[in-house]
Subunit: 340 residues, 2 copies
């Protein structure tokens, strides 16, 4: 069976009449004992830069749960170090050595030879394809707004207030910054597709902190530009928006095949408001910490609510959290696969 | 002119034909030099517990900007210490000594004599009323979900994952916890009204991290219960929801006169989806860091978008941030007051 005939790719194209495909955001992660075993030997950054280990951790949740797609193991901030903004990953999230805390600081950033500096990414993809030739593989990157949030804030944040202030106080400099990040991201995703990625996902993790006019300017415009530049690649493009509800109508205009929906909104409502697109989501990751019957019931509730299951990829509505029981993921996958 | 004839109270009741009222969430705060001068002399907690100082900081932004309502100076976690969960306020947000990190820990919490333990709150309100007898004064509390988030997490958090896991893992214990917090909150708000508060606002600061069915169970139900118990008081009830968009239809059923809307959603859209209610909001606080022309333009854009200005109270869509320029607040207030 070719990748094009997989339930995942068919669902991306709105033509899946078989079993509903399911994968889990951050499925290769700390909740898995076999992943933690790898991480005892290497740091997060070493793991991201070692093709053999990338392939190993991508394979782990596929083997364990029978998921319908894999996703490249990397980080949305991988592009920053060669751009001039080194990042470390201590416990508790990313830390930038030199956050872009003034308009002048943007000048430190620069374009770079992506094939050379990030060669471990396409090598990782080729390794995954060697060991999992029939598995649809998703490449990914952060949205320009989300990546810029970390660039400006220097670390995670509740509402990325500094980043939002920056775009209001220095709109021209912010536009230059977004131009650079967008251009790098476009080439980064194209490199992933050329190495073998069967679909690509942009993570708009923090755009959901913007007012609607700012979302249009700083999220929809740059993501649309990136996706449009990938038109000829023909692979399905997925835009995940954490907190979609305020912007659903704006996102319906983005040039992509699939919209990933967070857990706050009804997935069926999102599907109705995104005509012609497939949807991906959206169980609340916190539910995995409840009893298994709750996991099954809430999964079933979402599945039954959907008008057009041919255009559905099941997932969580946000990344799975460390400590989530593997039994809960098993129950989630079983419930989805038995639905039809 | 009596309080009932003020633009603020008339707008709460949907009957304001005059100037649009405006106030600012966290208007007595660190962005004001005169507030920082008070805080150089006393800690945040001392300020919250000293009626004369409460009245002084409540008055500061009224004197400076000519705002149309004042709000009690306090913290939504004030109720926790007498409930058995002491809180401190170092820089960077609240810290609980003993977070409720297990179902057993809920037993440490207890009811208390609110008139006695929190006497400084009604005393503060009476002091404010002495010096500002004609100013509509808003009392407030945190929603049961928001307060429980801090109780369980022990501090601020990006998405309050621990709190969400708790309600899924221990729904019965969570229900008991919400019952206690709701009962205290109801009596706390009633005490504020009896002391002279002309309106009350519940801050649903973190309910916007819930799926819709959980929002109905853990936000709408307890806030509705509290507001309904205050029916006979006849004062306007305001529910502020940070991230309203996913839940607007659910919130339209809450027993209150006004819905406070965050900056993500179009305020006009919110007003259309909340028939019979007034709306309060919703300029993005980050805009205050831009040029004054931007502040005026974005304020004007919101004002002009509204179908029914008789049911509008202007505000930010979230609390004003430390460092926001006072000139930006002046421009905001001027733009609103000159609108009609």
């Amino acid at each position: 069976m070719g990748i094009e005939q997989s339930s995942f790719i068919k669902a991306c194209r709105g033509k899946n009449e078989g079993r509903i495909p399911v994968w889990v955001m951050r499925q290769a992660g700390r909740y898995l004992p076999e992943y933690r075993a790898v991480r005892e030997k290497v740091s997060f950054l070493e793991l991201c830069r070692t093709p053999e280990l990338i392939a190993e951790v991508v394979r782990q949740p596929i083997d364990r749960f029978g998921l319908d797609a894999g996703i490249l193991f990397s980080d949305i901030l991988t592009i920053l170090e060669p751009m001039g903004a080194p990042v470390s990953f201590p416990e508790g999230g990313p830390r930038l050595e030199n956050p872009i805390d003034s308009p002048e600081a943007v000048k430190w950033l620069h374009d770079f030879d992506i094939e050379k500096e990030l060669a471990f990414v396409p090598e990782g993809i080729r390794k995954i394809k060697e060991i999992l030739p029939d598995l649809p593989l998703i490449g990914f990157a952060g949205s320009p707004f989300t990546v810029s949030c970390y660039l400006i804030e220097g670390k995670g944040s509740k509402a990325f207030d500094k980043a939002k202030r920056f775009i209001h106080a220095y709109p021209k400099t912010a536009a230059e910054l977004f131009e650079l990040v967008s251009s790098v991201t476009e080439r980064y995703l194209r490199m992933q597709i050329e190495a073998g990625a069967d679909a690509v996902q942009l993570f708009e993790s923090w755009g959901g902190t913007l007012s609607r006019d700012d979302f249009l300017r700083w999220s929809v415009q740059p993501t649309n530009r990136i996706f449009t530049a990938l038109n000829e690649s023909k692979v399905p493009r997925i835009l995940f928006v954490n907190n979609l509800a305020p912007y659903t109508d704006l996102v319906s205009g983005v040039n992509c095949e699939v919209v990933g929906v967070d857990y706050r909104m009804d997935l069926a409502d999102a599907q109705r408001k995104l005509p012609g697109k497939s949807v991906q989501g959206n169980l609340d990751p916190a539910v995995l910490f409840g009893p298994l019957e709750l996991v099954a019931a809430k999964t079933q509730m979402i599945l039954e609510s959907i008008d057009d299951p041919n255009r559905l990829i099941f997932n969580l509505g946000h990344g799975i959290q460390p400590g989530a029981p593997v039994e809960a993921v098993e129950m989630l996958v079983k419930t989805v696969h038995e639905f039809r």
